[in-house]
């Protein structure tokens, strides 16, 4: 009798289990590499294509244009090109592999508390209308929406990305070229990436046209010169305009402290005729730029490499006893559900003691 009760209190197994890290039970649609150090969206998007285009263009540049230009112009060309190339690749990889500012989902206790505060009439036949909460930020009324997936009221400027299935702080957009969301934590990497990429494409475009014109002057004709480096020219010509345009657009966003999401939705453009201004702007272009690009780097909130606490099961067991009606239903929806679900079933209320005891006497024997 004493043995059974003792084992009921201490439900840990005899054999030591490998402690699991939090990324292994992460509920969003992300993939993790290097034991949680690297995080990417589930769909890689066209990141390999982006990397491929950059590598191919730069490769062709170094192989075909550099030797000619070093001989006829200046030997700085490969160094400038090389420096820009390294800068672009590093910032691209940082944008792709950094946590964009994912908000961890609410714990079951928090979710229950919020549900209690929201006054529902108790009808469960259809989904109730979206719940909103209003706050006043710098004399502007901002509506906070309730996220049904993450079970919390989204902070201002946060949006839920359906591709990654996460709420992301200061959500800008989900960029398929980079294969990740762009949010609070990796916006500066993204901005640096597109600005340096525009410099790189403009530089290569300039070098290629210089090369072609020098060759054409050499007497062999423009057409012959064109045949020697068509690929680079085509890629650079099309990418220069689009990337320069994108950089210009994001420079405008940075200077007014806006996100792509807010700009597209027209949240602060004052369409309704009312006096609506961006409550997050510091009203000064320089301060806005500093705040967005040079501000303090916020930490990752999802703690990917942290270990799941081994006594989490004991705490959830006590919660189950307090909320018997929600025990089976809410456990299934909960984060890291597998371990908690197992214990939710084991620690079911007293009506079924017999099979539990017999199971444990067998395991103790």
């Amino acid at each position: 009798m004493k043995n059974c009760e003792y084992q009921q209190i201490d439900p840990q197994r005899e054999e030591p289990r490998r402690p699991r890290r939090k990324w292994e039970v992460f509920p969003g649609k992300n993939r993790f590499y290097c034991d949680g150090r690297i995080i990417v969206a589930r769909q890689g998007g066209v990141l390999p294509l982006t990397l491929g285009l950059i590598l191919v263009t730069c490769g062709l540049f170094f192989v075909f244009d550099c030797p000619f230009l070093v001989k006829h112009l200046t030997s700085c060309i490969p160094f400038i090109g090389g420096g820009l190339f390294v800068f672009v690749v590093i910032t691209l990889l940082q944008t792709s592999f950094t946590d964009p500012g994912i908000l961890p989902r609410a714990t079951p206790d928090e979710a229950a508390e919020i549900e209690k505060q929201i006054d529902t009439t108790g009808n469960s036949s259809y989904r109730p209308p979206p719940r909103t909460k209003e706050v006043v930020i710098n004399q502007q009324v901002v509506k906070l929406k309730y996220c049904f997936t993450c079970k919390m009221f989204r902070p201002p400027r946060t949006s839920h990305c359906s591709l990654c299935d996460n709420c992301v702080e200061r959500f800008d957009h989900h960029c398929p070229w980079v294969g990740n969301c762009v949010g609070k934590r990796n916006y500066r990497f993204f901005y640096t990436f597109i600005v340096s990429l525009s410099f790189l494409t403009a530089f290569i475009f300039g070098c290629v046209t210089t090369h072609l014109s020098l060759r054409a002057q050499g007497g062999k004709g423009l057409v012959f010169a064109l045949q020697e480096s068509p690929v680079e020219l085509v890629i650079c010509f099309f990418s220069v305009w689009s990337i320069l345009g994108l950089s210009g657009f994001h420079t405008y966003l940075v200077a007014s402290n806006l996100t792509t999401n807010e700009d597209i939705k027209g949240s602060w453009s004052g369409k309704g005729g009312e006096d609506v201004t961006n409550p997050y702007s510091h009203k000064n272009i320089f301060i806005n730029c500093c705040a967005v690009l040079c501000g303090p780097m916020p930490p990752s909130l999802i703690d990917r490499r942290g270990f799941l606490p081994s006594d989490e099961s004991v705490q959830t067991a006590s919660v189950d006893i307090e909320l018997p009606t929600q025990a089976t239903k809410s456990e299934i929806n909960v984060v890291g559900g597998s371990s908690q679900l197992a214990f939710g079933l084991q620690e079911s209320p007293s009506p079924i003691p017999a099979p539990l005891n017999s199971h444990q006497t067998r395991s103790s024997a």
Partner: protein
Amino acid sequence: MAETHSLQDLRQQPAVAAKVFLQRDYTHGTMCQFQTKFPSELETRIDKQQFEETVRTLNNLYTEAEKLGSQSLIEGCLACLTAYTVFLCMETHYEKVLKKIAKFIQEQNDKIYAPRGLLLTDPIERGLRVIEVTIFEDRSLTR
């Protein structure tokens, strides 16, 4: 029966009676600040002034972490010039302040909250959404 109870007490924490959540205060924007409103469930356990002082200190620490001062600007500009690779080797100002906050919460728990059967959870463990205050059952009354 009495024996197993004392073993339980040694091995297990006291049962959780309730949890109170202090939500974020967004009136000043997206900066990390928590509401200082004193929850009614804690009225019997702790002095209102004491609790509000703890929350105010936490708010000040978070303001310090997110401040757009000269240190963070220099850090940001240096990081930009090195393609942000310094973030891989260096601890940022924010992380240093987070460590200070963790130490502060530990101290507060040891000195003030644990003797009253309360436990403050570091907001970083809840994604900086809430300050969770766990209220434990008052065992002294049952014995």
